[in-house]
Structures are given as structure tokens and as C-alpha cells.
């Protein structure tokens, strides 16, 4: 191999290195939203977001302070809304009807800490990438580190309720998220281990 060919190859590899370095986050492991120049076909990311975009999750992350119900995402009946503490109004609040587990007779769903997601965690109407960026932003995610975020997404009982959503008022089982729980957990873990990269829109 001639010196000039070697030089071109060396320069080529150097250029590739620079491009790769610029494309990936220098803050891997930090809790920052990461934008790439090109969409990343990340199976784990999309699997996770398929879950987080489902009505079981977004219904309690409203953008208009009104919880949603059902797969058609209709506004919560009876005029219920966020209230001052994400728990409804003073005397009529979440726990007036929702307890710490599903009620199989009335069809009222329930889980520990049943409440709306806080005001800063409005997901309704956002794209999956916007939700992911919001979720990574400590100003919006309850000041959670990536480790804490992973725990919330994979262990928090209120989140896990989505896979045991019980029956509705007609006795019809609610639809769980489109990805099985263990597959979802593995996807979240993989996405975070790989730097929690969010594709650019």
C-alpha cells in the first residue's frame, strides 16, 4: 500500500471518528435529552415508547389538566380535574372512587398512589420523541436521575398497573400496553444503558 493510499485511509478513519464522536452524546449516563442529526432506528426505544404512548399511560399525563378515560381517551366523567395537588378537588378527589387496587365489582381502576402525573409531566398531544425528551429533562421529570427514571418506569406500582388494568364499568377487560411487561422492562434498561438516546424528529 502506497503512502498516499494509507494517508487517505487514515484521514477517512479520522473523519469517521470525528463524525461518530459528534453524533453520540458526550454526556452518556447523564440525564440529558440527546438529539442526533439522523433518526436512530432503536428497537428498544420504540418498544418503550409504544408503551408510554398507550392510553394506559397518557390518560393520566393530560395536557389540559383533565384526566382521560378509556381507549378512546375521553375526558374523565363527572368533570373531574387535576385540582391543586394532582388528586382532584378538596372533598371529591381520586380516592373518593379509586382505591389502592382495581375494584372488580364496580370496574373502578385503582393502584397505590393513584393520581395524575404532575403538571410538568404533560404528555398528551406530544410526539414520542417529545415525550422522551420531557421524560429525560430533570426540570420536568421530578428531578429524577437516569437510574431513578429507570426505577420509576420499570418498578413503580402505579406504572405497573398498566399491565393489570382490570375491567371497566361494563366488566370488559381494559387493554394493557402493546408490549409485554418483561419485554418493556428489558427495552427500558437497554435504552438507558445505551445512553438514553432520543432520535431527532
Amino acid at each position: 500500500m502506497g503512502k498516499s493510499a494509507f494517508g487517505y485511509m487514515f484521514f477517512g478513519f479520522l473523519l469517521m471518528g470525528v463524525v461518530v464522536a459528534m453524533s453520540y452524546p458526550s454526556t452518556k449516563g447523564e440525564n440529558l435529552s440527546v438529539l442526533l442529526d439522523n433518526p436512530v432506528e432503536d428497537e428498544a426505544y420504540h418498544k418503550m415508547m409504544d408503551v408510554l404512548m398507550s392510553p394506559r399511560c397518557v390518560n393520566c399525563h393530560p395536557s389540559d389538566n383533565i384526566p382521560k378515560q378509556g381507549d378512546d381517551r375521553h375526558p374523565h366523567y363527572f368533570g373531574m380535574a387535576r385540582g391543586e395537588n394532582n388528586l382532584g378537588y378538596q372533598a371529591t378527589n381520586c380516592t373518593t372512587c379509586h382505591q389502592t387496587e382495581n375494584n372488580r365489582y364496580s370496574g373502578v381502576p385503582g393502584a397505590p398512589e393513584w393520581s395524575l402525573a404532575p403538571d410538568k409531566m404533560k404528555w398528551e398531544g406530544l410526539t414520542r420523541n417529545e415525550i422522551a425528551r420531557s421524560m429525560l429533562n430533570r426540570q420536568h421529570n421530578g428531578d429524577r436521575s437516569l437510574t431513578e427514571l429507570e426505577h420509576h418506569l420499570t418498578e413503580h406500582e402505579l406504572v405497573l398497573w398498566a399491565w393489570k388494568p382490570g375491567v371497566d364499568a361494563q366488566g370488559i377487560p381494559r387493554e394493557p400496553p402493546p408490549v409485554p411487561l418483561e419485554e418493556y422492562r428489558a427495552a427500558v434498561k437497554e435504552w438507558i444503558e445505551n445512553g438514553a438516546i432520543v432520535p431527532e424528529d
Binding site: 363527572f78 373531574m80 380535574a81 372533598a91 372512587c97 382505591q99 375494584n103 365489582y105
Partner: protein, 164 residues
């Protein structure tokens, strides 16, 4: 299983096979307190509203196991003819009920509201009192709720004077 709780100030223990039996069933069919009504069975109408630990709950959708060690108050425990609760007194003065079926639930919801918001605005009433009345006595109930707030304020002032 055995469940122990207090209802209208009296300690109570019951044996029940299904711990998920609705509290409403126990109150009406086992304890024979018929003031609390069954309406929809879906926590939607509010006819079954009573208090657990001072909070309004829909007893048709409240498993009996959750009352263990707690204090339950039904319309019978709110007051009586000789000594009515301000809400009951206001309901009488404003002649609120028509058929009356839903009214215990409304009165329990109102009592819970006045404990949290002693002088509620119309907006706060609309937000918190969301029971259903098929006779549409809502207009009279709104007046009664404001009246109850006044009566409760007078009663509280009187109590404070007596204790000071």
C-alpha cells in the same frame, strides 16, 4: 375473615367470606343501616356516599377490607331529628328532596365538603358535589349548601364561645 372498624361511633366487628364485598353491602345488609342507598354500583351516581376516616367515599366501590381499623360515618351518624347536622338542618329548611332517594349521598358529600371548605363558592360546589339527582333538585341543593355553611359557621362560633 374478620373486619373491625367503628361505625357512627360504635365499634363493630364482622365476619365476611369475601374481603372485596363492597362496604355498601355490609352497611345495608349486615348492619341494617338503610340510609345509604344503592344507585349505580359503578361509583358514578354518588347515592352510596358515606365517610371513611372523614373522607367521602363511594361505598359501592369500596372493598370492606379497606375499612379495617377505620371510622365510618353514615347518614344515620351525621345527626338525627333531635340534633341534626347543619347540612341536614339546611336540607330541611330548604325543603330540598323530591323523591329523596339520592339525598343521603348528597348530604354526606356536602358534609365532607364543608369540613374542607367551610364556605364554598358556587364553583367549588360544582367541582365537589358531582352526585346525580334524577329529580333535578340541584338548584335547591345549592341553596341548602350555602345555608349549611352559614349554620355550621354559627355552630362553630357558638362552640368556640362555650369552650373559651
Amino acid at each position: 375473615m374478620k373486619i373491625s372498624f367503628t361505625i357512627n361511633g360504635t365499634a363493630q366487628s364482622i365476619e365476611i367470606a369475601d374481603e372485596n364485598t363492597p362496604l355498601l353491602w355490609v352497611v345495608r345488609d349486615i348492619l341494617d343501616l338503610k340510609g345509604t342507598k344503592f344507585g349505580c354500583g359503578k361509583a358514578a351516581c354518588g347515592a352510596c356516599t358515606l365517610h371513611v376516616g372523614g373522607e367521602a367515599v363511594r361505598s359501592c366501590s369500596y372493598a370492606i377490607k379497606f375499612v379495617e381499623g377505620k371510622e365510618v360515618t353514615t347518614i344515620e351518624g351525621l345527626g338525627n331529628e333531635q340534633n341534626p347536622h347543619p347540612v341536614q338542618q339546611a336540607w330541611i329548611e330548604e325543603v330540598v328532596p323530591q323523591c329523596g332517594y339520592c339525598q343521603p349521598g348528597f348530604m354526606m358529600a356536602t358534609a365532607a365538603l364543608l369540613n374542607k371548605v367551610p364556605n364554598p363558592t358556587d364553583e367549588e360546589i360544582d367541582q365537589n358535589i358531582i352526585n346525580v339527582c334524577r329529580c333535578a333538585t340541584y338548584y335547591r341543593m345549592r341553596k341548602a349548601i350555602h345555608k349549611a355553611a352559614e349554620l355550621q359557621a354559627v355552630m362553630n362560633a357558638s362552640t368556640e364561645t362555650q369552650t373559651s
